[in-house]
């Protein structure tokens, strides 16, 4: 009885052991390490590339470059204001714009289809149009056609819209509609968050001179203001009352609005002490003008037209 013996060893052993693998670097122990690292790596990739809705995070808002810094918007109504006054207004805007490198958007009533709403609504569309035409502008200043820019030295972005300046100017916790509205402007609003600057006169908010900062909010605000249901509602003062309405009913708008002293951007040719124009004010408006008739208007504006021409020639 015998057992199978293992085969004999060769008497000529090979000089070297054969390689265990092609790549000597990849030995068994290292292979394990490599596999482990690869596994961890793959797990990381899985976690990172996992589709989740966080990919669709809120888009970064486009910040306008500030070119031009300001667009001046005016709506002309020759029928109401007369030809010579209108011409003077256009010159006034163009000269001021040229001086500071601003752009202008001068619209005429009837330029836009308002679907039967009063022509004064053109102001709102014109501002919206300005945002479209100059997507990189920083501010839009609407000054209606019964107003002149009197002080060419003042720049909008310095005189009004600089955040620190706005902090001083804006009236906080202040009734939105003059006598004693229960809706008041926000008391914790910061200058840098303001997107809409306007003034009040005796009758309420004034939509004759206002500044809007370009951005998504501005589009939202102007489009909401222009809502067909507001236009068809027959507000007594059309777009002015619509503005008062949305400001008081919609906190998202009120939260971005600052009311400032009237004389900063909206002095009146005659009126209260706080409202009346004094030399050096930025702009002057004639609140009685279109109602009084073309001749009366021209007579009233005469001295101011001369004054702004002088001021612009001097500077």
């Amino acid at each position: 009885m015998h057992f199978a013996l293992p085969p004999r060893k060769t008497s000529k052993p090979p000089p070297y052991l054969p390689r265990s693998t092609r790549l000597p670097g990849l030995r068994k122990t290292r292979l394990k390490l490599v596999a482990l690292v690869a596994l961890v790596f793959l797990a990381l990739i899985f976690l990172v590339t996992q589709p989740s809705s966080s990919r669709h995070s809120a888009p970064v808002q486009r910040v306008p470059r500030g070119d031009p810094p300001v667009v001046l918007v005016t709506v002309l109504d020759e029928g109401k204001y007369g030809r010579s006054l209108t011409k003077s207004v256009v010159e006034n805007r163009l000269q001021y714009a040229e001086k500071h490198g601003y752009k202008t958007l001068i619209a005429k009533v009837g330029d836009y289809d308002l679907k039967g709403a009063p022509f004064t609504w053109t102001a709102v569309v014109a501002m919206r149009h300005a945002l479209t035409k100059y997507p990189d502008c920083r501010y839009v200043w609407f000054l209606d056609s019964s107003g002149f820019i009197m002080n060419p030295k003042l720049k909008i972005e310095e005189h009004v819209m600089r955040p620190s300046r706005l902090d001083e100017l804006m009236k906080k916790d202040f009734p939105v509609v003059p006598p004693d509205s229960i809706i008041k402007t926000f008391s914790h609003l910061k200058g840098q968050d303001v997107d809409l600057v306007l003034t009040q006169d005796k009758g309420g908010l004034s939509s004759g001179s206002l500044i809007v900062r370009n951005g998504e909010w501005a589009k939202f605000f102007l489009e909401t203001w222009f809502d067909p249901l507001y236009r068809s509602y027959n507000f007594q003062k059309a777009e002015t009352h619509a503005l008062e309405h949305i400001v008081q009913w919609h906190p998202t708008i009120l939260a971005r609005m600052a009311i400032i002293d009237q004389r900063v951007i909206n002095s009146y040719s005659n009126g209260d002490k706080e409202a009346e124009y004094k030399d050096g004010d930025l702009a002057v408006r004639f609140p009685q003008c279109p109602a009084a008739g073309v001749e009366a208007c021209e007579a009233e504006t005469e001295s101011f037209v001369q004054a702004w021409r002088r001021a612009f020639a001097d500077s």
Binding site: M1, L47, Q50, P51, S52, S53, S54, R55, H56, S57, A58, P59, Y112, D113, V125, A126, R128, H129, L131, T132, P135, E216, K219, F220, E223, T224, D227, P228, L229, Y230, S232, Y233, H245, I246, W249, H250, P251, T252, I253
Partner: protein, 457 residues
């Protein structure tokens, strides 16, 4: 007696007994004790086994069988009745107990592990890992937290608002059917939410004085969306659901079903399906290119409101709103007294019509609104939108496994509870487990063939 090897370390193994060669447990053919010089001690049993002491050890491979090889291990692992304990313990209780308890568990495991081959150990380990992962990923509560966590599953980003108790309180009494509808609907949503780690907010839609007295009736939706966004600060999407809805396929997660590939599923150009004949896009000169574009900026990131359209326009029975500044504005503008005063006679569906009106007139709304094909989030039963028969864009089809059914308008002359019930049962039926299928489709069928009796297991 000389031993050719050291005594076995197996606990209880003891010394190799002469003549009992099966006990060695090792497979090497040991020449054995016969070669020893001293007189061998022959035990009776071994003598019998060897056929009366031939004196020569017969050759036996000790590898005869699995049991033969491992017998010692098994036997030593078995509990033993131990009588040879310390003699001083004689009178104590517990003597003669099963002595396995005397070897500590850890020691036993250690010894088992020690005897195990390396390869077996690895195999066991892999098996263990697989079993553990199956448990963790499919059964343990960990799944819930995984799915819920913000950066793994992302379930916390979704909140479902369920409008319960519609018209309760003032308008009418809740009968048994209304209670049943509510109970079923809530259970359906709760299950879904528990499965995917979302949040559920059940809101009370009962007619309150706050709303009933003024114009604001039925604008609660807006207020509830707003409060919900405030209550769940981590939520990104809020999903509004009416009470009379049933989630038919709880296995669909919102992420998989819609949000992972949002841009693929939605359509933003309303001309694709336009029952209201809304002129789209805007062509006014004063609008910018993005507002005039039929699809806004075309990116999924700009979608803030997702809804579906049924046969007669927008349907707010099931819609999504995303947390964003835009949404704040929408929720703020949605209800406006001037609009309401002019339109409340025409607006039968209140907030739904108001939204249509906003969509029609406001470019900033259109830019951020998207529509899902109705059957992705809001299939209708046969009774709703029934004027033109079954429409494959609108009505539920069980073959396609639609996600959600909304019994829209069932309170107007249809049987809400009946529809809810039948869809609930259909959902259970469609989502049976394989075991239930096996029992019901196979065993019960065979039983029926054999005995002619229908049974339920």
């Amino acid at each position: 007696m000389s031993l050719s090897r050291s005594p076995s370390p197996v606990p209880g193994g003891g010394w190799a007994s002469p003549g009992l060669n099966i006990a060695s447990g090792r497979s090497s053919p040991i020449p054995g004790f016969t070669g020893s010089t001293t007189t061998p001690v022959k035990w009776e049993s071994s003598r019998l086994k060897r056929g009366f002491g031939s004196g020569y050890p017969s050759f036996e491979t000790k590898n005869q069988s699995f049991f033969g090889r491992h017998m010692r291990r098994f036997s030593s692992g078995l509990p033993r009745f131990n009588t040879s304990r310390h003699y001083a313990d004689k009178e104590k209780l517990g003597r003669g107990r099963w002595s396995v308890h005397s070897v500590p568990l850890l020691g036993r495991i250690q010894s088992i592990m020690g005897r195990m081959g390396r390869r077996t150990k690895i195999r066991l380990l892999i098996l263990l890992i697989i079993l553990l992962s199956i448990y963790i990923f499919y059964n343990s509560p960990l799944v819930y937290h995984w799915r819920r966590s913000l950066w793994l599953g992302g379930g916390q980003k979704f909140v479902i608002i369920l409008g319960a108790n519609v018209g309760g309180g003032v308008m009418d009494w809740k009968g048994a059917r209304e209670w049943a509808i509510e109970r079923d609907s809530v259970r359906n949503k709760k299950k879904y939410v528990a499965r995917w780690g979302y949040d559920l907010e059940i809101v009370d839609m009962s007619t309150k004085k706050r709303y009933a007295h003024e114009w604001r009736e039925s604008w609660e939706k807006v207020d509830f969306v707003r409060t919900t966004l405030r209550k769940y600060p981590k939520a990104e999407w809020v999903w509004w659901l009416d009470l009379t809805t049933v989630i038919m396929e709880p296995s669909y997660s919102l992420q998989d079903h819609i949000f992972n590939h949002l841009e693929k599923h939605v359509y933003r150009d309303i001309n694709e399906y336009n029952p209201l004949n809304i002129t789209h896009p805007f062509t006014d000169v004063f609008l910018d290119a993005e507002s005039q574009s039929p699809v806004g900026d075309g990116k999924a990131s700009s979608i803030n409101l997702i809804l579906s359209q049924d046969c007669s326009g927008f349907n707010l029975g099931s819609f999504f709103v995303r947390r964003s500044i835009w949404t704040d504005r929408l929720l703020d503008i949605w209800w406006d007294p001037v609009a309401y005063e002019q339109k409340h006679m025409e607006w039968e569906h209140k907030e739904q019509d108001a939204l249509e009106q906003l969509y029609i007139s406001q470019p900033w709304i259109r830019k951020h609104t998207a529509f899902l094909p109705q059957r992705m989030i809001n299939s209708f039963p046969k009774g709703a939108c029934a004027d033109k028969g079954i429409d494959p864009r609108i009505h539920y089809n069980e073959k396609d496994r639609d996600f959600l059914v909304s019994m829209a308008g069932c309170e107007w002359g249809r049987d809400c509870w009946g529809e809810m019930y039948s869809f609930r049962e259909l959902s259970y039926y469609l989502n049976r487990t394989w075991w239930e299928r096996f029992k019901e489709d196979f065993l019960a069928l065979i039983w029926f063939k054999l005995t002619g009796q229908k049974v339920k297991f």
